[in-house]
Amino acid sequence: MGERVLFFVLAIVAILSAGGVVFSRNPVRSALLLVLNFFTLALIYFSLSAQFIGVLQVIVYAGAIMVLFLFVIMLLNLGSPDAMPQERDLKRPLAYLIGFGILATLVSQSLALLIPATPQASPDVGTARVIGLALFTQWAYPLLLMGVLLTVGVIGSILLARRRAS
């Protein structure tokens, strides 16, 4: 019972903060609501017995990526709400049509599932030991490719943001 109540509260907070990100006119307020959304998702990950991923969610998303967002918002002076008009009115009905189409499809598909409805995983699946063991044995080559991708991304962003030498 307690688990369901906790999930319900966290889900309400997650959906409300996601709506705030989308419908807030102030980019800084969007970024801070996104941090709240990441924290509630991290708590949901904990309740899914994914401790390692939950901690990484807080460190990587709520720490590194959100600092990058806020840094660029303040660097480019986009913090004021009337820096630019936020919504393009012509595409709004189309966006809602597409969104509710996707939502109806996903919900109707997820209501009929073939997977057993009771949780199967033992609680130590989400520990750093089990994940690290799988990551460095079975998934070693994808991990190396991920390192290459991150290196290329960092070098590319440095080249993009550098001032031209002329």
């Binding site: 990100v21 994914a50 990526i65 509710f100 089990v130 991304g153």
Partner: protein
């Protein structure tokens, strides 16, 4: 012991994904569009972890967690490159309204 059913996680992640999709279409500020893309990626991560919890074999359970790690890496690279592109566009024309960026229009 009544755990949360798998459908609940999937419906929550569907809501989050659709909010992100609506935001990407509606917004004109590219930074807020990036935030909405992050929302969509997190919704997908939630489905990965929920499905991993309900698998029966240890190998497939850990595979779900590993996939979430890869999504983290892709999101970090995407944010770094995307914010670099935004700063370059801002330096070129002092405005980053995505409707006014038509450099690649033939």
């Amino acid at each position: 012991m009544d755990a949360v059913p798998l459908n609940a996680y999937l419906i929550l992640s569907a809501f989050l994904f659709v909010m992100g999709a609506i935001g990407v279409i509606v917004k004109r500020n590219p930074i807020v569009m990036f935030m909405c893309i992050e929302l969509m990626l997190n919704a997908v991560n939630l489905t990965f972890l929920a499905f991993a919890r309900y698998q029966t074999e240890l190998l497939t359970q850990v595979a779900g967690h590993v996939f979430v790690l890869f999504v983290f890496g892709v999101a970090a690279a995407e944010v770094a490159v995307g914010l670099g592109i935004i700063t370059v566009i801002f330096r070129l024309r002092e405005s980053i309204d995505v409707d006014e960026v038509t450099l690649l229009r033939g």
